[in-house]
């Protein structure tokens, strides 16, 4: 009787899960083996995906069978890709600087532009609009809630920024201290930051706990199939 693929995959999943759980008792070969296997499989899968989904259909095939203008356009990325390959050799790494410079430059430009238009300005505007009563009424939000939420958001933003304000003045005794108001805001800002980090930690814990539950559930399900 041929084992079903579900059984094989389930068994493999069960074994690897236990191997990862073995980390509870500390670093051990089972954990390392599981890690190495996952890393290798992931790398291989990524390489296959890049070749089959990127290089071959978007560079090789168009260069071979694509139209002339497409070929001409693809010569540049092709040369850039070859130059980046020179970075494998330390002696020839300089040849890939041009392509890397282009990538870094283009990526920096896109990121900065997106950050400005997609994060910085909208976030500033969002902080301001929390007090927009019209918008709150449009969203059926109580005015007190709007003011309360807005005040907390504003306070949290200001105090958190004040915490990262490191400007200080020297005192007669030689010690350096920030302004008193900055110190107060910073102290309040630390509370907001603490809460935020707590929330993040709770989210991480919740995510990890969900994964644990899913793995335990899969183990139980796998074992339940054979019981």
């Amino acid at each position: 009787m041929m084992p079903s693929p579900d059984l094989i995959f389930g068994l493999a999943s069960f074994v690897f899960t236990l191997m990862i759980f073995s980390y509870v008792i500390g670093d051990n070969p089972l954990f390392r083996i599981a890690i190495y296997i996952f890393t290798g499989v992931t790398a291989g899968y990524i390489a296959a995906v890049v070749w089959w989904q990127v290089l071959l259909p978007r560079l090789i095939i168009p260069l071979i069978s694509g139209p002339l203008e497409q070929k001409l356009l693809l010569v540049v990325p092709f040369i850039g890709a070859l130059l980046i390959l020179f970075k494998i050799s330390p002696r020839l790494a300089g040849a890939g600087r041009l392509a890397m410079a282009f990538l870094v430059g283009a990526g920096a430009a896109v990121t900065i532009a997106g950050a400005l238009g997609g994060t910085l300005i909208p976030q500033v505007m969002g902080t301001i609009t929390v007090f927009d009563l019209d918008a709150a009424s449009a969203r059926n939000i109580n005015i007190l809630e709007v003011i309360g939420n807005g005040s907390i958001i504003l306070a949290g933003t200001i105090f958190s920024l004040a915490y990262f304000h490191f400007g200080a003045r020297p005192r007669p005794d030689g010690s350096m201290h920030r302004l008193g108001i900055i110190e107060i805001f910073s102290w309040i800002g630390r509370i907001f930051i603490g809460i935020t980090l707590g929330v993040v930690f709770a989210g991480v814990y919740a995510a990890a706990l969900t994964a644990l539950i899913e793995r335990m559930s899969s183990l139980i399900d796998f074992i339940g199939k054979f019981l």
């Binding site: 759980f21 509870v24 008792i25 992931t42 899968y45 990524i46 995906v49 890049v50 089959w52 989904q53 990127v54 071959l56 259909p57 978007r58 283009a106 990526g107 896109v110 990121t111 997106g114 950050a115 238009g117 997609g118 994060t119 909208p122 976030q123 505007m125 969002g126 902080t127 609009t129 929390v130 969203r139 939000i141 958001i153 935020t196 929330v199 993040v200 709770a202 989210g203 991480v204 814990y205 919740a206 995510a207 706990l209 969900t210 994964a211 644990l212 539950i213 899913e214 793995r215 335990m216 559930s217 139980i220």
Partner: protein, 941 residues
């Protein structure tokens, strides 16, 4: 401190008597200082002028007379000589007779001069002796004027050689007419001719002394036999002449001077008795000359004659051996043959004269004679066998041996000339009967003719003549004969360039032909008389001005030249002279170069100074090395020193107690969590109720999902990792379940993660498997979107160009799921499934401008939701579903469809409670520890 001087270079004090600084070895005294005249001249020292005229009194009378005559006949030359004497004077030192081993210093220079290639610097008087140039010297090494003077073998030498190679004085001697000879002859010769047989006050004292000494020597012991070895050349030459006269005894001698002394007569008789012919056969003319010549017999010869007679009387009947023992060597040597022949005067005959007579006897006393004869006479007879290496001049005498036949058989040319001129006989000797007395009266002609020629005796020979007083020297001081010829060897070597050998007698043949005349006629003929005194040394020429002294000063050893002094001619060879010194002085004055006036470099110009280029005029300043620092600077220095020291000191690293999780606690937490989850999942309990309430972001997401048009294309971005797949699927499944159920949207899946494509298939095949969605029909899996944020931006700008193919490498944009979609904004909604806030931010940022009014709902992991929440607050994200909690809420809005969220909710809830409990307990534990520490600290206070 008065005897202390400071060094001009280093400034140190030195004793005044020091010549060089004892610190820097620099010269303390100026180098141009005058040298001490009393100190002997040393190499490198400037020769000083010496007026040798002072030496005139010590000269023998005959020399002074000769100089006087020379001054009269050759005023120009005398003037030149005088000038030269003024410039270079001979050292005030007579030839040292006590050291026969070493030649006199005056002659010692001849050796060096002969060895030297620099003939140009030869003094005139020395050149007149050698009379040769440098080239001639090399061409005829065996020729020697000195030899010629001594033995005078004219035909023995190549007389045909050019006159140029002949020394001046010799050339003049050969070519000068008799008249000029007589003119040039010293007046003393004439004056001595007149008072015949009388003791002339002008007779040379040394000649007198010679006779006396000869007599005394005869009374002395035989050890003085070696004394003749110290005889000067004039004696040797005379002996040679005597021998020559004996050899030529067969020649007719026309005249015999009546003034001849008895001993000379006896000698002549001895010569006859020896069976030989007349030693000299001179012509009647020559006899006439010789008659006058005989009248000039020196006193010393007369004295010797008298002594000989006295000695004969004293000896009486004593044996010959006794006589020879009591007589000087040269007397003894003569005595034996004389005695054997019954000649009374034979005892008194000097060896040089007796040799002729002796050798004329040939046989009888030859061997015994040689034993007692002076070395130079011995070598005459035994040179071939007993030729010492020291007797170089004797060796030279042997070399012309092949010419002996001509020497004996026929009269040499120069001797023939003697018949007419009778020259070359030393004046001091030829003027006396002595010379002719050794010959028969008629055979004395050559000597009479050679009278003036004797005045051509070289200076050195003249100077050596008075030193014949060596007869007075004790026998113990007598040197070996070989040593006595050293100076002659030097002379010979200097005269090797003579064109003609003047002395070519074979010594071995001499024993048989000793009668050969010592002087050839032509050797003292012609111009020799003219140059006789022309070549007079300077010091003699200068002395000619002085009046002749009737009582010549005896030459003593005190007047001898000190060994350290250099002869004048040697000094003349020095590179320093007045002219160059003056020029150098001018150059020194101009500051161009320095002139060394002392030391070994004396006379050289431009010698590097002791300290090149540095002549400090004063002592250098003394600078204090003490550092001038103010107190403030010193404080700063100390501070800097402390800082540097602090930098060098090791700083202890503060150790902190690491927060190490307790193994027990870790095991406790793990067991509790694992057991709780396992228990809740195993029990499949639903103890905990689903969450209540609806967050605004979740409500907004529900609204967006419900607002999606039917069958509208919906873009779903699946950017999460496989490890978060369970959470993401639990959160997204209720959303997609509701949406698929309600709106049947055409889904287009794309991912910026490489694993996004496979996770999409897993999600479709897993939680959404019940909806029956198929690839490229109801959904399109575009797979991996490369480029990160740039890929997202490119995709938002032109989705078809950025992702032309789906995950199966097929054209994507001609499929149903994306039908009617060419731009990003044509999607009905954009749902982002991500576990990373950055991915959500990239999608929000890069698609904001292209998205337009397209609703954007984010389904995120619980760990990323706090970061995405602001985008929802800002309105950039229209809905947010976060984790299991968001999925559980959303499930409650799906009309009660069971979902995965509920399955995991009890385990999740109790695990969250356990975690909260642990955190609270942990917090309380830490608080308790803190309170304990504080109370402990308070108690310690």
């Amino acid at each position: 401190m008065a005897d202390m001087i400071n060094c001009p270079v280093c400034g140190e004090s030195n004793a005044a008597n020091l010549e060089f600084c004892q610190y820097c070895q620099s010269r303390l005294h100026p180098v141009a200082g005058s040298s001490n005249a009393d100190t002997p001249i040393t190499p490198g020292q400037i020769p000083t002028k010496k007026n040798t005229a002072e030496l005139e009194p010590i000269l023998p009378q005959w020399l002074r007379d000769a100089r006087g005559n020379t001054g009269q006949s050759m005023p120009d030359d005398s003037a030149d000589s005088a000038s030269s004497v003024n410039e270079y004077s001979p050292p005030q030192r007579p030839i040292e007779s006590r050291t026969p081993a070493s030649p006199p210093d005056l002659l010692a220079g001849l050796q060096s001069q002969a060895d030297s290639e620099d003939e140009d610097e030869t003094p005139d008087w020395l050149a007149s002796i050698t009379g040769v140039s440098h080239k001639n010297k090399k061409s005829s090494p065996e020729s020697s004027d000195a030899h010629r003077v001594e033995l005078g073998g004219k035909d023995d030498f190549a007389q045909d050689n050019s006159q140029e190679e002949t020394p001046d004085w010799l050339a003049n001697l050969q070519a000068a007419p008799v008249e000029s000879e007589k003119d040039e002859l010293a007046a003393w010769l004439r004056t001595e001719t007149e008072p015949k047989n009388t003791q002339s006050s002008e007779d040379s004292d040394w000649l007198k002394n010679l006779g006396e000494q000869s007599y005394q020597a005869g009374a002395e012991a035989t050890p003085k036999n070696a004394q003749p070895s110290e005889d000067s050349d004039w004696l040797k030459s005379l002996g040679a002449q005597d021998a020559y006269a004996s050899e030529n005894a067969g020649e007719p001698k026309n005249a015999q001077s009546a003034d001849d002394d008895d001993w000379l007569k006896n000698l002549g008789a001895q010569d006859y008795a020896s069976g030989t012919d007349e030693p000299f056969k001179v012509s009647s003319d020559d006899a006439n000359k010789e008659s006058s010549f005989s009248g000039d017999t020196p006193d010393w010869l007369r004295q010797m004659d008298a002594d000989a007679n006295a000695g004969k009387e004293q000896a009486g009947a004593s044996s010959q051996s006794d006589e020879s023992a009591s007589l000087p060597d040269w007397f003894t040597n003569q005595g034996a043959p004389l005695e054997s022949q019954g000649q009374s005067l034979g005892e008194a005959i000097p060896s040089w004269m007796e040799t002729g007579a002796d050798k004329s006897e040939a046989t009888e006393g030859a061997s015994s004679e040689k034993d007692n004869a002076p070395d130079w006479l011995k070598e005459f007879g035994t040179v071939p066998a007993a030729a010492d290496a020291d007797n170089d001049w004797m060796k030279d005498l042997q070399q012309p041996a092949p010419q002996e036949p001509s020497f004996q058989g026929e009269t040499p040319a120069w001797l023939k000339n003697d018949d007419a001129e009778a020259v070359s006989v030393p004046t001091w000797l030829s003027g006396k009967e002595g010379f002719s007395a050794s010959q028969p009266a008629e055979n004395t002609q050559p000597l009479g003719e050679a009278e003036p020629s004797f005045g051509d005796i070289p200076d050195w020979l003249k100077a050596a003549a008075p030193q014949s007083s060596i007869f007075e020297e004790p026998a113990a001081e007598a040197a070996a004969p070989s040593e006595s010829s050293d100076w002659l060897s030097s002379l010979k070597s200097s005269e090797t360039s003579q064109p003609e050998a003047m002395f070519t007698t074979d010594m071995q043949a001499d024993s048989e032909s000793v009668d050969a005349p010592a002087f050839s006629a032509d050797a003292f003929s012609d111009k020799a008389d003219d140059s006789l005194f022309q070549e007079m040394p300077d010091w003699l020429s200068t002395a000619s001005d002085l009046p002749p002294s009737s009582t010549p000063t005896a030459i003593t050893s005190a007047d001898a030249i000190s060994p350290g002094e250099l002869p004048s001619w040697v000094q003349a060879m020095r590179p320093v002279d007045q002219g160059s010194a003056a020029i150098s002085s001018a150059a020194m004055a101009a500051g161009e170069q320095t002139l060394e006036t002392r030391g070994a470099l004396s006379g050289l110009q431009g010698v590097l100074p002791a300290v090149p280029g540095y002549t400090p005029s004063s002592k250098p300043k003394v600078y204090s090395i003490r550092l001038q620092v103010s107190e403030e600077q010193q404080m700063h220095a100390e501070l800097l020193e402390q800082i540097l020291a602090a930098e060098a000191e090791p700083v202890p690293i503060a150790s902190y107690l690491p927060l190490v999780a307790s193994r027990g606690l870790r095991w406790l937490l793990a067991v509790v969590v694992f057991s709780t989850v396992l228990l809740m999942l195993s029990l499949r309990t639903q103890i905990f109720s689903m969450p209540l309430g609806m967050p605004a972001e979740l409500g907004s997401a529900i609204q967006v999902i419900q607002a999606i048009p039917e069958g509208a294309p919906v873009l779903v971005a699946t950017d999460y990792q496989p490890a978060r797949a369970a959470e993401m699927e639990v959160a997204a499944a209720p959303v997609f379940d509701q949406m698929l159920l309600l709106r049947h949207p055409r889904l287009t899946f794309i991912s910026t993660s490489e694993t996004g494509g496979i996770l999409t298939e897993r999600f479709i095949a897993g939680p959404l498997a019940g909806h029956g969605y198929e690839n490229r029909v109801s959904y399109l899996n575009l797979g991996y979107l490369p480029g990160g944020v740039m890929g997202i931006r490119a995709f938002s700008q032109n989705p078809a160009y950025a992702t032309p193919y789906d995950i199966s490498l097929q054209s994507a944009w001609d499929t149903a799921p994306v039908q009617g979609v060419s731009t990003f904004s044509q999607f009905a909604a954009v749902i982002l499934m991500t576990d990373n806030a950055d991915s959500a931010r990239a999608w929000v940022e890069q698609t904001a401008s292209m998205r337009g009014s397209v609703p954007f709902v984010v389904i995120s992991s619980a760990q990323a939701s706090p970061m995405i929440q602001p985008y929802y607050s800002s309105g950039q994200v229209n809905g947010l579903v976060s984790g299991l909690y968001g999925g559980a809420l959303f499930e409650q809005n799906n009309a009660g469809r069971p979902g995965t969220a509920r399955k995991y909710w009890d385990a999740y809830s109790i695990s969250m409670l356990v975690a909260m409990a642990f955190m609270v307990i942990g917090g309380l534990w830490n608080m308790a520890l803190g309170l304990r520490d504080r109370s402990a600290a308070r108690e310690r206070r």
